[in-house]
Symmetry: C2
Subunit: 104 residues, 2 copies
């Protein structure tokens, strides 16, 4: 029996988060919906969102969010679980996340 291994998932450190990258990650309606969903729930998979996009597009949106430091991803078996990096975002850009979610 072989076990599929996954590459380590990289995340920028809190101090390396950059405002332009975070704003870019949030500048898409689908990604705003994902972030709003994660703000309500604790941890969700890509498939946990009823999004009008293909799975690969969904995967891409999660990657953009992760690379900007907006979400954290972890692998659990075949599932990739996503959480919002609220503490990091609030520490670096106070009020930004709540203001954007309120406006979305």
């Amino acid at each position: 029996m072989t076990t599929k291994t996954h590459e380590p998932i990289s995340h920028p450190a809190r101090e390396d988060l950059e405002l332009p990258a975070v704003l870019h990650a949030l500048s898409d309606p689908i990604r705003l919906r994902i972030v709003a969903g994660l703000a309500g729930d604790g941890e969700r998979t890509c498939g946990g969102f009823a999004l009008p996009v293909t799975k690969s597009t969904c995967t891409h949106h999660f990657k953009v969010l992760r690379e900007a430091g907006v979400i954290r991803q972890r692998q659990e078996g075949t599932a990739r679980l996503n959480t919002l990096r609220r503490d990091d975002l609030d520490a670096r850009f106070p009020g930004l996340l709540d203001t954007i979610l309120a406006a979305a």
Copy 2:
């Protein structure tokens, strides 16, 4: 003597401003600098900013900001004057502009 005429400059109406487009317009370091500058001053030309970009790049950035509804542009002779649409942004997305400027 001929007078150079300029095409009308179009701006989205307040009710047509969209959050993803506004966030995209603000997701660039140069455009963030422009907006921060306009937030301090009333009205400035492209050349009024000491930006490390060519004039055509500068013109492009102002166009992105205008089309997203972040700034208003008006022609005065050969100069194009820019102002921040603070009232419209504050009305549509309360607190967003100040939060982003504070984080920038």
